[in-house]
Amino acid sequence: MSATKDIRLMKGNEAFAEGIIRAGCDGYFGYPITPQSEVLEYLSIQKTKERTGMVVLQAESEIASIHMVYGGAGCGKRVVTSSSSPGISLMQEGFSYLAGAELPCLLMNVVRGGPGLGTIQPSQSDYFQAVKGGGHGDYKMIVLAPASVQEMYDFTKLGFDLAFKYRTQVMILSDGAIGQMMEKVELDEQIPRLTDEEIIKKYPWVTTGKTSDRERNYITSLDLNPARHEILNRKFQAKFKKIEQNEVRFERIDCDDAEYLFVAYGSSARVCEKAVQLGRAKGIKIGLLRLITLFPFPYDEVARLAKQVEGILTIEMSAGQMIEDVRLGVNGAVQVEHFGRLGGIMPAPEEVLNVMEEKFIKTKVYA
């Protein structure tokens, strides 16, 4: 092992927590919920106030957490909250206000099974909520889907960068499996927190106290003038369009010669990666398109691959949510099927390979 690299074995939740510290986070506000309580626990034991000056506060609820984030974000600070599905539902009010006020922040959902209290086991059934909205109004947020503990770490810095680049919320959509598992993580150097002076210089819109050299700043999502409010909403849409043009991220695994394709993200993509290996060992040319950004969605890449392959199988721990976007990208060019496990059960590699064979390959032989 290289002596210069700082490599550790960490849980996904811990890697996220260490990631936000090192990415120069100013404040974390959160409320305990399984399976992501390690985030707040880790930050608490790290004595972040002494380490970097970062504020960590356990709020009275997820609702309070997200509005504390709003307050900090309005001051141009790098602020974060994290939760799991039921808590994220509570935060939707805040997400909508953050979108309306165009405040940058980093959010994480370590998804567990629902609806309701559901289960604490991993799930991917919050895709629609994260990607299509959740709160009221026409808005989107950038959604990053880590598939490894390293990505739980890496996406913190990426998330802050994107959040401030576009003045938008960035959500890391993880799940109980990625949050709870341990893998190797390579850590970067500490990025210093910005000083108030640096923040004021970089972000002229922040509320830090009105000085005589500028007009007052205010953060709001309200505009009762319909004409102005339409212009504001068009501006939001233009921003989301720009994000769609610039920020699509995905990973192609064995796609070049693939005849059959898995599309998956997060821990399901890891399962599919193994299934690709098992399939190829049997002589079936399978590839995997692993989504890294869920919004923006890689419609173009899906469309390209749809022309190449004979069948697409989406694997999600849900009743089939992402498949709707895959079908939009495919636009009828090839058959798209879904396989998912519910209730907190993770599919096994053999299981998804078997489904691929059943749905596309065996039927082909008999056709």
């Binding site: 504390m68 307050g71 001051c75 007052r216 953060i219 709001t220």
Partner: protein, 260 residues
Amino acid sequence: MLETLPITKEEICKPENLVYSRTHLMTDAALSYCPGCGHGTIHRMIMEVIDEMNLQADTIGVAPVGCSVLAYEFLNIDMQQAAHGRAPAVATGIKRLMPNKFVFTYQGDGDLAAIGTAETIHACNRGENITIFYVNNGIYGMTGGQMAPTTLPQMKTATSPFGRNVETMGYPLKITELIAMLPGTYFVTRQSVHTAANVRKTKKAIQKAIEYQKLNKGLSFVEIVSNCNSGWKMTPVEANKWMEENMFPFYPLGDIKVPK
């Protein structure tokens, strides 16, 4: 009649005759409040104190949802508009990350004592070093006069048209007395702005609250019992009289918790 006046307007409006001017911390925007409403006076009092204490560059205010949702249009300071009831959480986020700033929320009774009860109580209980200005008029003014958590027993509103029946609609909430019990609050007072004398008292309370925040003493809470002549369906004069006769006996004015 004008031409018979012994002196002209120009002669009167001279700097040496100036006895009062609006603080420059109020913007030029016309207030959206109903004539007779206390909000304008309360806005002005807070801005005057911030101005006198030279705190404009250090102040971040938080506006609620309610009649004062547009407070940032009228106050010439940096402000954030919060979701309904969440102002104490927003202010917590601001103050924790900008501890040297003067941070206040400005909230009505529906915002603070109904939908935002949890945020209010926990910000108070944590002793957040912020100041809460709480305007209590016993009704939801902005949405058109519905029953509030503070609506008095038997009081008629749009959603208690036959009077508030406490057996089915619950009792008015004395949240100020409630939060005064919490160790995190430092200074808790109830004032009004319906007479010049009361305005002066309110201003003193605002001054104290800001001083205490400067000294990192914890949360200061200034309730201002105010009228809502539109919601109460009275003239401003009648509303003030009704407030004295009905609101003050239930919400008595004065300091509730003062530093020892």
